[in-house]
Structures are given as structure tokens and as C-alpha cells.
């Protein structure tokens, strides 16, 4: 556990200081209790001997004052440690994930990250301090007391000493089972959370199926499973928990019996008997508390494991002598094969894009178009084969240089919750007003801005929710213009935009493509975009099925010709009565 905590925080200083402080406090606590021995020996007589007790009493007073001072110091140190730990961990996590390949950022991983950065970081830091301290105390006070008792009677001390390992062994077992049950219960709770979301989204479907009031069968299963695993956990932890408490209490009874027996047999004076009994009570109490701490410790451990698993994600390997400049903007795939884990998404794909050319990628959904774009931007590394940009293998390029020369227009455009201007400036923080306006104009974003109440200063809402999909895509295209990167990768919106947006977006994409200074690769869905391309690469099931100039390919009876006419037909689709279907 301590080792795991150590791994989380590269700066051990604060943990060490805090640990040391509490260790001192614990030992001091034990020694203060130990002072009871000479004090009570002197005083527990028919005529209390204050004279003999005086030096010990003074020592005790001094010790108590020291203890107070240390406690007062420890309080703020603990607070600031907890804050520093949390803040440090949060920054560490965010900095780390910023070096991860883009492919890592799936919905699941994003949820994991959010949890790690907020609740887990906070809890770990909080618990490391508020649980760590009493845990140290609970361990060290009993040990110190044993030392003191040893001085009085080694046999009794031996009983004390035997209790500790037995207690720790049972505690370990209780802790392990608690941890397993915790994980199981958490999974059950996560399942309920997922089903709860589904319950909201699928409410109409469920009601139409007459399952409105009962929820789906899976929902009911999830609820039952949660209760069952809760009960299972309780059942499993029953014996270990009971054993631990029994060990501690049994220890107490044992000490009590042994001491009394020693007293009655005359080998312990009655003063020492009393002192030992007083110490026995103080010895067992912190030990008994450990079982209450163990749950929290395990919860902390689980949080630590969750954080660590993110920090253990491998980053994209960096070349030692990475090239830090691109001479030209060509793109080349050479025998590229790549899979997301199952069947390959791309198989032996090879093609070339000359600098300044426009390439359209077409193919049925799932044919690997998006993967091509992802590999160029190095969201992932290929399994075999090479992706070259500017003639250099992307793995040998400094990632910053690569991304500096690429602008991507995604199908689903994500905007940050700030103003339009801020979102545009991301592409180029030092852009002048004129540059901003030129980019907006080229992307036909200017008319959107004009219409908005606060123009450039309009806040776009979380994820850009206050703009429509087409408007968001226009922002994204404007970014590409503003960035003036030599390579632009576009995933043309497949879903229906309203007519006005559709026109604006395809016009803006056309402008990007026409500029001879840019190498453009576009996943195209619209006949106009296809027609404007210098070359078309048709993918099917991860392989290049056809490649060539669009006009030539239309003449053949290949996949491109088929898709092209399908696109045309789709645009002329109309809903009608059954009688005049198949038109």
C-alpha cells in the first residue's frame, strides 16, 4: 500500500514528513502512557509518595506539552499535505494523459479520467492524510506499550506481542475480502448506473413494450444482482471480521486472566498488575480501531489502483532522433495493416497523395476511411507498414511537428465552452483580427457570427451545443483555414444538414481543396466533393478496391461508380405510398 502511494507521488517529501510527524506523535503517546508505570508505582500505595512521583510527573507534563505542540503543528501540515497531494496528483494525471495517443480517448477512458481526476485523486489525498495518521498511531502506540510492559513483566509482554501478528494476519484476510467485495459491489453499481441511463433513453421503447413500470428484464437483473452481491459480501466478510474482533477481545481476556493469575500467585505486585491492566486497555483500543480503518484503506487502495492504471497506459513511442521539420506535404501509405484488436481495419493499404492535391476517400461504412485519417495524425501506430508524411515515417517525426502541420475537420466537431473567437484562436492564438475574419469568411462562418446576438463573443455552450451541427463544422473549417497547415484531413458530415448549412459547408470544403498550397484528404459523402477531387481512393473491407481520377472511375462498373450513383439516388429519395414505391 505504502509502496503504491509512493509510486503515485514522485515527490515523497511531504508524505515522509507527515508520516514522520505522526510516528513521533504515536511513540510519544506510547511513552506518555509508559510514564504511568513509575507514577502509579509511586502513588498506588496506602500513602501516595508524591516525592518519588514528582520527576516523572514533570517529565509527563513536558511530554504532554510537546505532544500538544506537535498536534497543533500536524493539523495544518496535514491539511496542506492533503491539498498538495490532490493538486499534484491531478496535474500529474492531466499532464500524463496529454501525452497519450488520441486513440486512447474513448468514452470509457474519458469517464475513467474524469473520475480519477476528481473523486479518486481527492479521496486518495484525503484518505492518505486522515486515514494514514490514525493508521500509524494504531500501529505504533501498541508497539511502544509492549516495550514499556516488557520492563515490568516479560511474560505479559509476550502475550501482548503474540496478539499483534495474529491480529495483523486476520486483519489482512478481512481486508482482502472487503476489497474483493468492494470491487464486486462497485461493478454491480456501475451496471445499475448504465442501466439507469438506458432506462431514461429507452423509456418510450420500454413503455410501448409494456415494460414501463417494471423496467427492462436486464434492469431488474441488475438490481437483484446488486442486492445479492451486497449480501454475498456481507456473508463472506462475516467470519474474518468476527475473527479479528475475537482476536483482539480474546487477547484482552487473556491478558486479564494472566495478570490476575500472576498477581494471585505473587509474581506481580498489585501496583504493577494495575499498571499492566491500564496499559492493556490502552493497548487494545487502537488495535481494535484498525478494523474500522481497514475499509477506508481498501477503498483508498482501489482508488490508487484506478489512478495507477491510467498512469500505466503506454504512450506512443518517441523516436530518439525525431525529425523536427517537414519539407513538403506529401502523404504516403505503404503496405499498411492496422487493427483495433479484432479483424484488421486496414489491410495492405498503399497509396500516395502529392503535395497540394485533393484525395477523396470513399467506401461503405466500416471500410476503414476514418482509420486512414487517424493513422496519418498518428492517433495510433500501424501494425505493419509505414505511413509517411513529407517523405518521413510518422513514427520518426516529432509529434508536435506532425500535428502542427495537420488540421483535422471532424464529423462530430467538439467546441470548448467559451466564445466563438476563443474556439477559433485555438488554431492560432496570436491571430490578428483580420486573419480571424478572413478565415471566418472563407469557411462561411461570417454569416453565422453576424446572426448571433453577441457576434464573435457569443458563448457556444458545452461542447458547442448552442450551435447546430453544420455551424459547428463551419467553425472547425475556419480553424483549418486559420491554422494554415499544409495538410487538412476532413471527415465530411454524413448526416443530413439543413439545406443552408449543407451548401455552406460544401462550399467551404471546396475552397480548402482548391487551394494548391494544401494537401487535402477528405472522406467524402457528396457528389460535388467527389467530383472536385484529384484522385479517389475507394476502400472496401479495409482494402483499396479502386484508385484513380473520379471521372475515369465513374466510367467503370466498380465500387466508386456504384456509390456515386447511390449518393445521387439518395438525394432524390422521397417517401411515398406503398403503391408508388421503387421509383
Amino acid at each position: 500500500m505504502i509502496r503504491k502511494l509512493y509510486r503515485l507521488w514522485p515527490d515523497h517529501g511531504i508524505l515522509l514528513r507527515l508520516g514522520a510527524l505522526h510516528a513521533i506523535l504515536a511513540v510519544l503517546q506510547g511513552l506518555l502512557l509508559g510514564l504511568l508505570v513509575p507514577i502509579l508505582r509511586a502513588l498506588l500505595q496506602i500513602e501516595p509518595d508524591f516525592q518519588a512521583a514528582a520527576p516523572w510527573l514533570i517529565a509527563g507534563t513536558i511530554g504532554l506539552i510537546a505532544y500538544w505542540i506537535l498536534t497543533i503543528i500536524a493539523t495544518p501540515v496535514g491539511f496542506s499535505a492533503s491539498m498538495d497531494l490532490a493538486a499534484g496528483l491531478r496535474h500529474h494525471l492531466m499532464n500524463y494523459v496529454s501525452t497519450l495517443p488520441l486513440g486512447w480517448f474513448t468514452d470509457t477512458n474519458k469517464a475513467r479520467l474524469a473520475r480519477a481526476v476528481t473523486a479518486d485523486s481527492g479521496n486518495v489525498a484525503h484518505l492518505a492524510v486522515v486515514i494514514g495518521a490514525p493508521a500509524i498511531v494504531s500501529m505504533l502506540v501498541p508497539l511502544t506499550i509492549i516495550g514499556v510492559v516488557w520492563l515490568i513483566d516479560w511474560r505479559v509482554a509476550l502475550v501482548f506481542l503474540v496478539i499483534i501478528p495474529i491480529a495483523l494476519i486476520t486483519l489482512r484476510r478481512a481486508g482482502r475480502i472487503a476489497s474483493e467485495s468492494d470491487i464486486e459491489l462497485e461493478e454491480a453499481a456501475a451496471e445499475i448506473a448504465g442501466r439507469a441511463i438506458e432506462l431514461g433513453q429507452a423509456q418510450t421503447v420500454l413503455r410501448a413494450a409494456g415494460q414501463g413500470r417494471s423496467g427492462s428484464a436486464r434492469m431488474r437483473e441488475a438490481l437483484d444482482e446488486h442486492r445479492a452481491s451486497y449480501r454475498r459480501g456481507l456473508r463472506r466478510s462475516m467470519i474474518p471480521d468476527l475473527t479479528y474482533t475475537a482476536v483482539v477481545l480474546g487477547g484482552f481476556v487473556g491478558i486479564l486472566a494472566l495478570t490476575v493469575q500472576q498477581l494471585l500467585s505473587g509474581s506481580l505486585t498489585f501496583t504493577d498488575t494495575l499498571v499492566v491492566l491500564v496499559l492493556a486497555v490502552r493497548f487494545l483500543e487502537p488495535l481494535g480501531n484498525l478494523i474500522e480503518l481497514i475499509g477506508a484503506l481498501r477503498a483508498m487502495e482501489n482508488a490508487v489502483v484506478r489512478i495507477q492504471s491510467i498512469l500505466d497506459t503506454p504512450t506512443l513511442p518517441m523516436a530518439v532522433n525525431a525529425s523536427n521539420a517537414l519539407n513538403q506535404a506529401s502523404i504516403e501509405f505503404e503496405d499498411v495493416t492496422f487493427s483495433y484488436g479484432g479483424t484488421p481495419a486496414l489491410r495492405n493499404v498503399s497509396f500516395q497523395c502529392r503535395p497540394g492535391s485533393t484525395t477523396a476517400l470513399v467506401g461503405p461504412s466500416g471500410s476503414g476511411k476514418t482509420t486512414v485519417i487517424r493513422l496519418i495524425a498518428r492517433f495510433f501506430d500501424t501494425d505493419t507498414g509505414n505511413v509517411r508524411v513529407g517523405g518521413i515515417d510518422v513514427r520518426k517525426l516529432d509529434p508536435a511537428v506532425l500535428l502542427n502541420d495537420i488540421a483535422i475537420v471532424f464529423q462530430e466537431v467538439y467546441l470548448f465552452d467559451s466564445t466563438i473567437e476563443e474556439n477559433l484562436r485555438l488554431a492560432r492564438p496570436d491571430a490578428s483580427r483580420e486573419q480571424l475574419e478572413r478565415a471566418a469568411c472563407a469557411a462561411r462562418l461570417d454569416e453565422v457570427i453576424e446572426r448571433l446576438p453577441e457576434g464573435w463573443n457569443t458563448r457556444v455552450g458545452e461542447g458547442g451545443s448552442r450551435l447546430s451541427g453544420g455551424e459547428r463544422q463551419r467553425v472547425s473549417i475556419a480553424r483549418a483555414f486559420l491554422k494554415q497547415s499544409r495538410i487538412v484531413l476532413i471527415d465530411e458530415a454524413a448526416s443530413a444538414l439543413d439545406p443552408e448549412n449543407e451548401r455552406a459547408v460544401s462550399e467551404a470544403i471546396g475552397r480548402l481543396a482548391r487551394d494548391r498550397g494544401r494537401t487535402v484528404i477528405v472522406i467524402a459523402h457528396r457528389p460535388a466533393t467527389l467530383a472536385a477531387a484529384d484522385q479517389v481512393i475507394a476502400l472496401e473491407a479495409g482494402k483499396v478496391a479502386e484508385a484513380g481520377r473520379p471521372m475515369e472511375l465513374r466510367q467503370t462498373n466498380g465500387i466508386f461508380a456504384r456509390l456515386y450513383s447511390q449518393y445521387e439516388r439518395a438525394r432524390n429519395w422521397h417517401i411515398a405510398r406503398h403503391s408508388d414505391q421503387n421509383t
Partner: protein, 602 residues
């Protein structure tokens, strides 16, 4: 169990627990009590056992103290009496072990049962809420009620209650015993504890303010990290992550500052409460005061010993009582959140539901307003006959989608009425109403379940064969066959591997299977995925055949052949007719048509 053990450590601790729940608003105290109804008996026994356990727990301590008093009181050591006390102590210890253990178990079992009970109640409540509620509140709210809010109550039910009662009893028994021995020393011991409680109260005085500030800061940290991750591709490709990271850094900083302010403000009181709750302090005070009294002959050493044994342990045993307040506060807030949901007005169900005759849809002077001021739909009347296609068109914001969502009673009309087969939709049971129509909108809802079950939910009693037939009719059968486990592939677990258009066709298969006579359709659906577009369109044609079809249209050429077109403008029915009739009128429709034709040809 659970993750909320942070409070069970036994030292006064005012470190703000960041898992602290929700903003404190005036929680109705009885909400909690009502929610606990099914487990009240269990909780009562939990409390009783905890009380008995706490009382029994004093036996060993009292035994030690009595042995000491016995030995100091007389020079003659009375072996029998001492052994008697040893046995009493041992029995007390065992009893305590069993009783406290049983109490804690009972509390946890009650928790397990309550979680289940309340969740079942929430699920069935959701089943009768107006559908509009789901659109407005979002699924996140449901998730919060069913998980986070309930977990907030865990601490209270499984821990706080038993601990609170136990601590109370421990205090009463402990002090009663001490009072019997020496009242002066008892008062002194009590004074230390009182000072501790006062300091703790002072330290926690501003907990609400600080906690909400901390929570807000934490919310910002969370938002910034999610935002960063969501926008990571933008951040990376534009190489300007720094700006976004600043927002994260600022949130972290604000969190630290909030904490720091709190700590600074409560520096003295929290240090003091820590000091006075320390066993060492109590020990020191008891020793000093006790020895002074002994020196003054007001107290015997024998009577000082119980204070050393029991008095010193008291802060530890009453701490839960002081900290338990937090658990109760959290539990109350959560309980009132949950009750708020359980008390929401359900969709009005007719006492005597009527059965529709046929499937003619009639809109009779239908009006609807979201806010009671602006009319989103304004006195629209129309008749949609079975076997015909009705198109809803109009500029964005004209009320097309709103009008369509009144049919399945997502929202209740605020004026006029909607009739299906001569029966007002409000006079039909909502199950019947919903099963009479297929809703094919852009947002595809798949259940995390097998393909078969996802289609079968359209008609739960359908056979395997019928499910396949529906899939074939929706042009999705071959896609399903190609999935790793065919019809048994579990969808929605991230590996489903269906494209947007394919998911769309799956829901169309579901609709086909349901054989609902009314089809509500968003035209944009048909062109969601151009690659599979033709297949989706063919599937839709299959679905619509012979039904009462109502389609929300964006691209006018898709509905040229509709039997009637309702042109909406600002909620009002501006025009009505066939494509050719409307073109001839040269009104809004013909202007929209002209504009779109121009756009297409560009």
C-alpha cells in the same frame, strides 16, 4: 462495504471530506423517515443491539477498575471477587463483540434491502412520468438518483445510526458509572469533552459555505478534465492545449484556495478540537486534576483509577456521535432528492381506458406551449387517414417536432385535442397509445442486450423467426449474420460494431416487428448515413407501407408525393395541401421549394 468509511476514524477531524454530498437545502426531515419505512424494524433492532453492545462493552473496563479498587481498598487480596470480575469482564467483552457485530450486520442488510426497494420504486415511478420529463431532465439525473443519492444514504443507514446510538449509550453508561465513583472528577472529565464538542462545532460552523465552494471547484475540475478529454483531438491537432489546461489548472488552484481559506479560518478551533479529543489530553487533565484532589485528600488513588481506564477512552467512543451528524445531513438531502422524484405527478392515466377504432389521426385545434406564454403549436387542425402520408414542413422553429411529440404524449396538449381512432389520446392507456405507433427518430436507442432482444422489444412475445423476418424486411439481416455472434451479439458494450445507418435499420426492424399502425418519422433519419442510405430508405418504405405515416421533413423533395403537406410557420398551420396545390398557391411552401431547388443546383 461502500466507500464511505472515511468518517470511521476516531480522532476529531475536520478535514473537509470531499465526498461530502450535495448542497444543503432545507431537507424535509420526514422524507428520510418515509423512505426508510420498509427497513424501520431492522433499523430499530440495529439500534437496540448497538445500545446493548455499547453497554456490555463497558464490562471489561469496569472489571479492571473494580479489580483495582478492590485491591487498593483492602490489603487483603480477595481472589474470588477478583476472578468474578475477570469473568464479568470476559462475558461483557464477548457480548459486546456479538451485539455490535450483529447490529452492524443488520444495518448493512437493511441498507442492501433499502437500496433495492427504493430503486424498484424509482424504476416503476419513471414508467409513469410524462415522457417530456426525460427530455428535460436527461438520463444523468436518473442515474444520480439511482446511484449517487442512494449511496449518500449508505453512511447513515449502515453506520451512523448504530454508531450514534452506541455512542450515546456508551456516554450515558460511562458517566453514570464514573458519577457513582466521584462526582468532581466526573465533572472535570465531562468538561474536557464539552470543550471538545464546542471547538468541533466552531470548526464546523461554516462547513456549508465552504463545502459548497469546494464542491463548485470540484465540479469545475471535473468539467475541465472532461472538456479537455472531449476536445483532445482539437487540443492536439492545434497544439494549443495550454489554453485549455489553464482552465483546469485554475480550477485545481481554486479548489486548493477554497480549502486553504477554510483551514485558515478554522485553524484554532480545529486544532483545539483535535487537542481536546486526544486521549493524551484527557489523560493529562485527569492526572493533574486527580492527583491534586488526591494530594488534598479529596480523592483516593483507588477512585482515580476508573477515570484513567474509562474516562480516557470516552472521547474515542463519543466521536461518532459528533461526526454522525454529517452522515445524517447528507442522508437527508439525498432522501429529499429521491422523494422529490417519487412524488412527481405521474402522467394522467384514464380511469376507464378506451379502445380506438381504426387508426385515423385527428388533430383538433391543437395548441401547446412550453412556458405558458409563447405558443409553440397554435390551433393546428388536420386529419391523417390510414394508408396516407402526411408531411410536416416549415422553417426551423416552426413547431414541426413539437407537434409530432404531442402524439405519443411526450407533452400534454395545452389546448384542443388529438384523437386516434376517434379516441382522445388522453383517454387511452399510455401502453396502448405507445404500442400503436412506431417512432423512428434520429436518436437511435439501443439496449445493452443481444440483437434479438433489441428487435424483440418491439413485440416481446414475438418468436425468434418473426424477429428474423423483421430484420430481413429492414435490410439488416445480413449485417447481423456477419456479427461475431450473429443475433446473440450483445450491443452497446462498445464492441457492437454497427454503423449509424445499421443501428437505424435495427430500430426500424423493431418498429416493423411491432406492426404499429401509425408511423412517426423524422425524414433526416433516412439520410443519416449516406453509405447505407438506400438500405435505410428501403427499410423505411417497408415500415410505412399501408400505415398512417406522419413525417417531419427538412428536404422538401423527399415528400413531394405525400398525400398532404402541413406547412407550419411559428406554430400556426400556414398552408395545407399536396405538393402541386401548394406550389400553385405561391405561398410559404413554394418559396421554400424555390430556395431549396436553387441550393441543390448550385
Amino acid at each position: 462495504m461502500g466507500n464511505n468509511h472515511a468518517h470511521s476514524h476516531h480522532e476529531t477531524d475536520v478535514t473537509p471530506d470531499i465526498s461530502e454530498g450535495g448542497k444543503e437545502h432545507l431537507a424535509k426531515s420526514d422524507a428520510l423517515w418515509r423512505l426508510l419505512r420498509p427497513v424501520r424494524i431492522k433499523l430499530l433492532f440495529c439500534a437496540i443491539l448497538s445500545a446493548l453492545g455499547a453497554a456490555a462493552g463497558f464490562a471489561p473496563y469496569i472489571a479492571v477498575a473494580e479489580i483495582a479498587r478492590n485491591m487498593l481498598g483492602s490489603q487483603e487480596v480477595d481472589g474470588n471477587t477478583i476472578w468474578m470480575w475477570v469473568i464479568i469482564g470476559a462475558i461483557g467483552a464477548c457480548l459486546r463483540l456479538l451485539l455490535v457485530f450483529a447490529s452492524s450486520r443488520l444495518g448493512h442488510y437493511a441498507d442492501a434491502e433499502l437500496l433495492h426497494d427504493v430503486r424498484v420504486r424509482i424504476v416503476s415511478k419513471l414508467g409513469v412520468l410524462p415522457l417530456g420529463w426525460f427530455r428535460d431532465s436527461g438520463s444523468g439525473a436518473i442515474k444520480k438518483r439511482m446511484t449517487n443519492d442512494l449511496e449518500e444514504m449508505h453512511q447513515l443507514i449502515a453506520h451512523a445510526l448504530g454508531e450514534l446510538v452506541g455512542a450515546g449509550v456508551a456516554m450515558i453508561v460511562g458517566f453514570t458509572y464514573l458519577l457513582m465513583i466521584d462526582w468532581q472528577m466526573s465533572l472535570i472529565t465531562m468538561a474536557v469533552l464539552l470543550v471538545m464538542v464546542v471547538c468541533y462545532r466552531i470548526a464546523m460552523r461554516s462547513v456549508t459555505t465552504h463545502m459548497s465552494r469546494l464542491l463548485a471547484a470540484e465540479g469545475r475540475i471535473s468539467a475541465a478534465s472532461v472538456e479537455y478529454a472531449d476536445g483532445i483531438s482539437v487540443v492536439k491537432t492545434f497544439g494549443t492545449g495550454g489554453r485549455i489546461m489553464q482552465r483546469f489548472a485554475a480550477a485545481v488552484k481554486e479548489h486548493t484556495h477554497a480549502m486553504l481559506d477554510w483551514v485558515t479560518e478554522t485553524k484554532y478551533s480545529s486544532a483545539a478540537s483535535r487537542l481536546f479529543s486526544s486521549e493524551m489530553t484527557v489523560l493529562g487533565v485527569v492526572m493533574i486534576a486527580g492527583l491534586a484532589l488526591v494530594a488534598a485528600d479529596k480523592l483516593t488513588m483507588a477512585n482515580l483509577l476508573p477515570f484513567l481506564i474509562i474516562g480516557v477512552g470516552l472521547p474515542t467512543s463519543i466521536m461518532p456521535a459528533i461526526q454522525g451528524g454529517q452522515g445524517i445531513r447528507k442522508g437527508r438531502v439525498a432522501a429529499s432528492n429521491i422523494e422529490e422524484l417519487l412524488n412527481r405527478t405521474a402522467l394522467m392515466e384514464p380511469d376507464q381506458p378506451k379502445k380506438p377504432v381504426g387508426h385515423k389521426v385527428e388533430l383538433d385545434q391543437v395548441s401547446f406551449s412550453y412556458d405558458g406564454v409563447a405558443q409553440a403549436v397554435d390551433e393546428v387542425s388536420a386529419v391523417c387517414n390510414p394508408g396516407t402520408v402526411t408531411a410536416l414542413v416549415g422553417p426551423s422553429g416552426a413547431g414541426k417536432t413539437t407537434l409530432a411529440s404531442l402524439l405519443p404524449r411526450f407533452y400534454e396538449v395545452t389546448g384542443g385535442s388529438i384523437r386516434i381512432g376517434e379516441v382522445d389520446v388522453r383517454d387511452m392507456s399510455s401502453d396502448r397509445l405507445l404500442s400503436s405507433m412506431s417512432l423512428v427518430f434520429q436518436d437511435v436507442v439501443l439496449l445493452r442486450d443481444t440483437v434479438t432482444e433489441n428487435i424483440r422489444i418491439g413485440r416481446p412475445q414475438a418468436s425468434e423467426e418473426e424477429v428474423r423476418e423483421a430484420a430481413k424486411a429492414a435490410h439488416i439481416h445480413h449485417v447481423i449474420e456477419a456479427l461475431p455472434e450473429g443475433y446473440n451479439t450483445v450491443l452497446g458494450s462498445g464492441s457492437g460494431g454497427l454503423s449509424g445507418g445499421e443501428k437505424q435499420r435495427l430500430t426500424i426492424a423493431r418498429a416493423i416487428l411491432s406492426k404499429a399502425p401509425i408511423v412517426l418519422l423524422d425524414e433526416a433519419t433516412a439520410s443519416l448515413d449516406p453509405d447505407g442510405e438506400t438500405a435505410v430508405q428501403a427499410a423505411l418504405a417497408e415500415l410505412s407501407a399501408g400505415k398512417t405515416v406522419i413525417v417531419i421533413a427538412h428536404r422538401l423533395h423527399t415528400i413531394r408525393n405525400a398525400d398532404q403537406i402541413l406547412v407550419l410557420d411559428q406554430g400556426k398551420l400556414a398552408e395545407k395541401g399536396t405538393h402541386n396545390e401548394l406550389l400553385a398557391r405561391k405561398g410559404l411552401y413554394s418559396r421554400m421549394w424555390a430556395a431549396q431547388q436553387k441550393g441543390e443546383s448550385e
